[in-house]
């Protein structure tokens, strides 16, 4: 198992423990633990298996099981994205290993990026969302729980499978798709009507940074991607879990805590998102400075959406207040001293 995947698995386990402990809704914690534990076990299997075909089979199994959970969206709607992802990745596998012209490897790169986007639920394959749906059967587990490990595995496998030329194409596509997701996700998080949809789009925007980090293929890019994944799994996801009750009650607030949460979601100092953004900009500057300029402009788009999401948390009380404080403290600690995370992932 790659160190990066192992670290992401630990993040996912922490997020699951948080969700079971601090979920404000009156749901069965046992059921949440069972569903989350299944997702965690599948993520561990995805990270641990030695070959890409086994990754695809686990992804397929997970997709079928997730689609079978009771939920508001139709079974077909929930099954489509994982099946399309597996089919696309399988065809990419054929192209990556087939003998023939160099263009085949480039098509393989296209298939790998498209399959990853479909599995995680990013532009242009965003999973349909029902704001009233329970979190476990919604697209959120794909984008914030299983997706990070899957992305790390797919990117690592792609680097092994693809020739250097096609690897460059793969990186370029990741950056292009990342910029698209940054723009789409951050603007939609700001302007969409539904608060739940705004949260989902904010995940999409964060994933845009992750894709850019993976695509930059420099050490700082990989570090930035890992830290943004940390902020997704151990920051944004727990805050979304805590906000579920307020979202259901349609309660909003503009207390200081809401602005602090907005700062954390926007990636401001001293939270971990800030360090990740600095690393990403540094890597982009080394590679091609206009890209850094585009990323910097894109990062400004986080602010209005984050202020909105911060307000949607309302005023956390009791156990939820402890949960929010814990999340903010962990994100500040990782922002001030990210070295242990990077060392654990050997980045």
């Amino acid at each position: 198992m790659q160190p990066e995947s192992a670290v992401l698995l630990v993040f996912a386990a922490v997020a699951l423990a948080f969700a079971v402990t601090f979920n404000p809704l009156s749901i069965s914690r046992g059921a949440l633990l069972l569903k989350g534990g299944t997702g965690l076990a599948a993520s561990a299997a995805i990270a641990a298996v030695p070959t890409f075909d086994l990754v695809l089979l686990i992804l397929l199994t997970l997709g079928v099981l997730h689609a079978a959970i009771d939920g508001r969206r139709a079974f077909a709607v929930r099954l489509r994205a994982p099946i399309v992802a597996v089919a696309t990745l399988a065809v990419a596998l054929v192209f990556a290993h087939a003998q023939g012209p160099d263009e085949l490897q480039r098509f393989a790169a296209v298939g790998l990026v498209a399959g990853l986007a479909a599995a995680v639920g990013l532009m242009p394959y965003m999973h349909p969302l029902d704001p009233e749906e329970p979190m476990t059967s919604s697209p959120i587990p794909w984008i914030a729980f299983v997706g990070p490990v899957l992305a790390a595995v797919v990117v690592a496998r792609a680097q092994q499978m693809l020739a250097p030329d096609a690897g460059g194409v793969f990186g370029g596509m990741l950056i292009g798709l990342g910029l698209l997701n940054i723009a789409w996700g951050s603007i939609a998080a700001w302007l969409t009507e539904s608060e739940v949809a705004a949260w989902r789009y904010s995940f999409v925007a964060d994933w845009g940074l992750v894709l850019c980090g993976f695509g930059l293929t420099l050490a700082d890019g990989g570090r930035a991607a890992l830290l943004i994944l940390f902020s997704i799994v151990v920051g944004r996801l727990p805050l979304y879990v805590v906000s579920r009750q307020a979202l259901r009650d349609k309660a909003v607030a503009q207390r200081p805590i809401n602005f602090v949460v907005a700062g954390a979601l926007a990636g401001s100092a001293p939270f971990v998102g800030f360090v990740a953004r600095i690393l990403l900009l540094r890597a982009a500057t080394q590679l091609y400075w206009p890209l850094a300029l585009a990323l910097a402009l894109g990062m400004l788009l986080w602010l209005p959406g984050s202020l909105r999401l911060g307000r949607s948390l309302a005023v956390p009380r009791g156990r939820q207040a402890i949960g929010v404080a814990l999340v903010l403290a962990v994100n500040v600690a990782a922002g001030l001293y990210p070295l242990p995370i990077l060392l654990a992932a050997r980045l």
Partner: protein, 179 residues
Amino acid sequence: MVAGVAAFVAWLGASLVVLGDGRRALAFGVFLAAAGMTVIAWQSAGPVAAAAIATGGALAAVRRFGSGPDGWRIMPPGSTPRLVLCVAGGLIVLWIAAAVTTGAGASLRFTVMVIAGFSGARVLASEDASVLLTATSMLALVVALASAFGDGSGLWPYFGAAVIAAGAGWLPHRTARAT
């Protein structure tokens, strides 16, 4: 020659799954596709792998034969795009597998690409749980077949795919139809 015939049978089975809505068409389609894949798995990975593919495909076909919409329902009204997909998709994949790519294993390449493509397309175009789960079974089997391209993970993909293909049919319909 044998591999070529097997690939054709696999395409025929996958096309039947694409064109049919009834349980007989779906069951016969997955049976044919699995039969073709079994022969190709035998050639690329040996008899045990072939047995796993055959078992998984047979169980999926048996299960599908016992549940789902009655009859064959092949090419119901409005299914012209599906027919075009089967013919044009098959020809394009044949061109890629036999002419664009080189080296041994053209039948394997054709089968993996055509069944993966048809399964994905079928899932995008249907709302019926029996159709979706049949496509899932077929996709699981072909992913195992694709392991022949990798660095070699032994027989595990074949066993795993057989379990998924057989188990997908038994997924409870109550949850499968949840809205």
